[in-house]
């Protein structure tokens, strides 16, 4: 059946089975390929998006569970204050290597920062340990989150 979902502020209609994971709706049906496939079991975080501002794994979020929640993806997270700060810090610290996991890392970090303006190391561990980076950019991810937390709110 058709599902009406709000992605990055735009209402989209997709006609797929209700148990189709949001990940594949984004990537294959709507062509929004910034959100990545890594494991399909919520083990790696590459597919992280925001549902009403909270980080969720789109690979296990079925389309029929989205309802009226607002979906934000990597393509639009830069228009949120926290997302813009995180992206800027990511560039300043040169976090990305292969970069494949970084959409998910940035979505998790943005959700963290939006809800916690001054995350501690333990907060960062809690929020980011669901996101695997095979290039091992963890040192810089941590530094970049701290840098983003220090930047003034206006600058986004």
């Amino acid at each position: 059946m058709a599902y009406n979902i709000t992605i990055n502020g735009t209402l989209r209609s997709v006609d797929v089975d209700g148990d189709t994971p949001l990940l594949w709706v984004l990537r294959d049906v709507l062509g929004m390929t910034g959100t990545k496939f890594g494991c399909g079991m919520a083990l790696c975080g590459a597919c992280t998006v925001h549902l009403d501002g909270s980080a969720v794994r789109s690979c296990i979020t079925t389309i029929d569970s989205v309802g009226d929640s607002k979906i934000t993806t990597i393509e639009a997270v830069g228009s949120t204050a926290a997302g813009a700060k995180i992206q800027k810090a990511w560039l300043q610290h040169e976090v990305a290597q292969c970069g494949y996991c970084q959409s998910g890392q940035i979505m998790s970090a943005s959700a963290l920062l939006a809800g916690n303006a001054h995350p501690t190391d333990a907060d960062i561990d809690d929020a980011m340990s669901g996101n695997i980076c095979r290039c091992g950019t963890y040192v810089r991810i941590r530094e970049a989150i701290k840098l983003a937390a220090q930047s003034p709110a206006r600058e986004g």
Partner: protein, 723 residues
């Protein structure tokens, strides 16, 4: 914000056009310069062996396009290679646009491998001289063109920031304005390269040219391509390597909405669908029977036993110094050990994928590959077409680590695409990616040393057995039972070892394919040699640092990095109970690296790596930020291997399936990593892999320091470390 576009690979049409432009002396108006890379490092090569290898293209619009013979997979090559050219060409990095090189072994072969591939940490090593010469040659031709137009002496002109300036008058012309005339200038035979003190870019931290697209979702990896009308397929291959498809009941799968087609291959089944959700659901609904074939009862233990047996037989002599047999007989003490290293998967974050449009008489492929020419050749074979009928578009790589030096994924995709009308993107599930990887080989080493009465090693004998990836991947490089990769790190050790004998016994295990894995030969050999030298220090009842230092008088670069690491890691300073420090020292990929790991072993035997101090001498540093990033990255990759990395076979099947059973280090487990770089004017060494090979023995040695238990197998068996 600077925007850098990474263009898709030039098609053959583009390439032909470019060749045409060269041949017709810039009919299109612009300077194209082809240049040569010598085949083989530092060797004299006859003129006939020189072949054009890469291109600089300067358009009349001033656009500088660099065609990248090496692929970007996170290692920063799309920044450091342009730096080499831009340094001599006198352009800012923001002025250049990058293109992936198309498949062409003649133009783009890696000079250290002889084939078009990105691996073994040798892009900068291979490109260091020729790519700077290419930039310098282009600059001289642009200056000559400007001098001619102005009617002035060449010596009175200089190049800076993308323009030529006539110094006395201050007149200047942009490169774009000179491109057409520069193409008519004679190509200078000898160019003088800048002295290190003249470098503007090299040695300064440059921002990555590929960074912006990687933080806003616009970077395009192979898995992201969407040719019009593309269908999505996913596959299941015989769970036992070498097995065949017996039968498949696809009635339930075909009833799933969005499933379009079931493709049967000899040893695999694919479900083609509108989207991956439907394809995966279809795959799960298949009822498949396999003929499991010869390897249906194979286990890792069977392979380990075979390798152990092999170390009892004579192998090919990889290096022989002095008389190890006699020295061993005369030694005061003999130390002996066996080491095992497991099969490992690559587990790149971007699962294997390849998109193919097979049109009968031609075939178009979209993929991210470390070895585009190999993919083209093998895809052409699978397609039953001549290579020139196979067009490949290369893309950013979501993790390579050696996995994408292989063409199996492209071959699979072609086999499937031959049965599909229109383009099809074949995406492997993570389970398929891990269970049908091509794995870092299993290794068994039997090693012995003789110590004199002062504990100094007077004899060293090592015989190891395992797969030679080179023998399959690059057969001409496997000679007399040896190849340069399999033995790197086992021979030419940094230490003074007067009587030294190393043999390699090639054994290709049945029922499991092997491949290169980040840090390749040294990933195995440095673990063994650095663990064993630590064993010798312990047997001699000497400090692990002092013991190594005493064997390094002839090797100042190795000694310097060891001393620097020891100083920064506060070697010898007291640590709380349960903690220990361990050293590893290596010369691999042309670079010297000392690493000191600080670990904590808990009562339950679990190991936490707290801190890793690295001291590096990689010769001339091109991009210091990349050096830092690559060492950090290599360390994390190695920590994963030490703590978790193991692929096992049971009943011929890989037992691990996803990131729950094949764990990867996570943020909360990541150590602090410090990287200290020794200033050096030597030619650059490789950086992408060194951090991985050294950290594993450093961790093992630190565990020994903390617990007194020697780790001769990886990954760490926490059960054996329980207090």
């Amino acid at each position: 914000m600077i925007h850098h576009r990474i263009a898709p690979t030039a098609s053959y049409a583009d390439l032909s056009r470019r060749n045409f432009l060269v041949n017709s002396a810039m009919a299109g108006g612009g300077l194209i310069l082809s240049f040569s890379l010598p085949f083989g490092e530092g060797k004299a090569v006859s003129a006939e062996s020189f072949a054009p290898n890469a291109f600089i293209r300067i358009g009349t619009d001033g656009q500088v396009v660099l065609t990248m013979p090496y692929v970007e997979m996170g290692q920063g090559t799309y920044t450091s290679i342009p730096m080499l050219i831009a340094e001599e060409l006198e352009v800012a990095l923001k002025q250049v646009r990058l293109e992936h090189a198309p498949p062409n072994e003649k133009l783009y072969a890696n000079p250290l491998l002889g084939v078009q591939a990105t691996g073994n940490s040798n892009a900068i090593r291979g490109a260091w001289k020729p790519l700077r010469e290419a930039g310098a040659t282009a600059r001289i031709m642009l200056i000559s063109a400007a001098a001619k137009r102005w009617g002035v002496e060449i010596a009175s002109c200089r190049a800076d920031d993308g323009e030529v300036i006539h110094t006395p008058s201050g007149r200047h012309l942009r490169y774009g304005e000179l491109a057409a005339e520069a193409a008519q200038m004679p190509v200078p035979k000898d160019v003088v390269l800048k002295r290190p003190e003249e470098f503007k870019l090299i040695g300064t931290p440059a921002k990555r040219l590929d960074a912006a697209g990687k933080v806003n979702g616009t970077a395009v990896y192979g898995i992201d391509v969407r040719p019009p009308g593309v269908k999505i397929a996913t596959l299941v291959q015989s769970p036992v390597f070498g097995g065949r498809l017996k039968s498949v009941d696809d009635s339930a799968a075909r009833a799933i909405r969005g499933v379009r087609q079931i493709v049967r291959l000899d040893d695999a089944v694919a479900v083609v669908a509108d989207h991956m959700g439907a394809a995966k659901k279809g795959l799960e609904a298949l009822k498949i029977e396999w003929d499991e074939g010869l390897h249906a009862v194979l286990s890792t233990q069977d392979i380990a036993r075979e390798l152990e047996q092999a170390t009892l037989k004579a192998g090919a002599v990889a290096q022989k110094i002095g008389d190890a047999e006699k020295a061993m007989a005369d030694a005061a003490t003999r130390v002996e050990a066996s080491y095992h290293l497991p099969f490992l998967a690559h587990a790149t974050m971007e699962p294997m994928n390849c998109t193919v449009h097979f049109r009968g008489s031609e075939c178009e492929i979209w993929v991210g590959t470390q070895a585009i020419a190999r993919v083209q050749a093998m895809a052409a074979k699978a397609a039953g077409l001549p290579v020139e009928k196979v067009v490949i578009h290369n893309h950013l790589i979501g993790g390579g680590f050696g996995r994408r030096l292989e063409a199996d994924g492209a071959v699979r995709a072609v086999e499937i695409a031959k049965q599909v009308d229109g383009p099809v993107k074949v995406v492997w599930t993570r389970e398929e990616d891990i269970q049908h990887d091509m794995y870092r080989p299993y290794w068994v080493d039997h090693i012995a040393a003789g110590l004199d009465k002062d504990g100094k090693p007077v004899a060293w004998v090592n015989r190891f057995a395992g797969s030679s990836v080179i023998a399959r991947w690059l057969p001409p490089a496997f000679k007399d039972g040896l190849d340069p990769d399999t033995t790197e790190g086992a021979i030419d050790l940094v230490y003074e070892l007067p009587n030294f004998h190393v043999e390699y016994v090639r054994v290709e295990p049945p029922g499991i394919p092997t491949a290169f894995w980040r840090s390749v030969g040294p990933s195995h050999n440095v673990f063994v040699t650095e663990s064993f030298i630590d064993e010798l220090a312990a047997a001699a009842k000497q400090d692990a640092l002092a013991y190594r230092r005493a064997l390094l008088d002839h090797n100042p670069r190795a000694k310097a990095v060891l001393d620097l690491a020891a100083e920064k890691a506060e070697w010898g300073a007291p640590l709380p109970k349960g903690r220990g420090r361990g050293i590893a020292l290596q010369h691999a990929f042309g670079s010297y690296l000392a690493q000191i790991a600080e670990v904590e072993v808990a009562k339950d035997g679990s190991v936490r790596v707290h801190r890793v101090v690295c001291a590096m001498d990689c010769g001339t540093v091109v991009n210091p930020d990349t050096v830092q990033a690559q060492i950090q990255s290599g360390v994390m990759f190695g920590v994963t291997a030490a703590l978790y990395g193991e692929i096992t076979l049971k009943n011929g099947r890989v037992e691990q399936t996803n990131f729950d059973t094949y764990q990867i280090l996570r943020m909360n487990e990541a150590p602090a990593v410090e990287v200290h770089v020794v200033k050096s004017a030597e030619p650059p060494g490789g950086m992408g892999e060194a951090g991985t090979s050294g950290i594993v023995p450093a961790i093992g040695n630190a565990v020994f320091a903390a617990t007194g238990r020697r780790l001769r197998r990886m990954p760490i068996d926490t059960g054996a470390l329980k207090a």
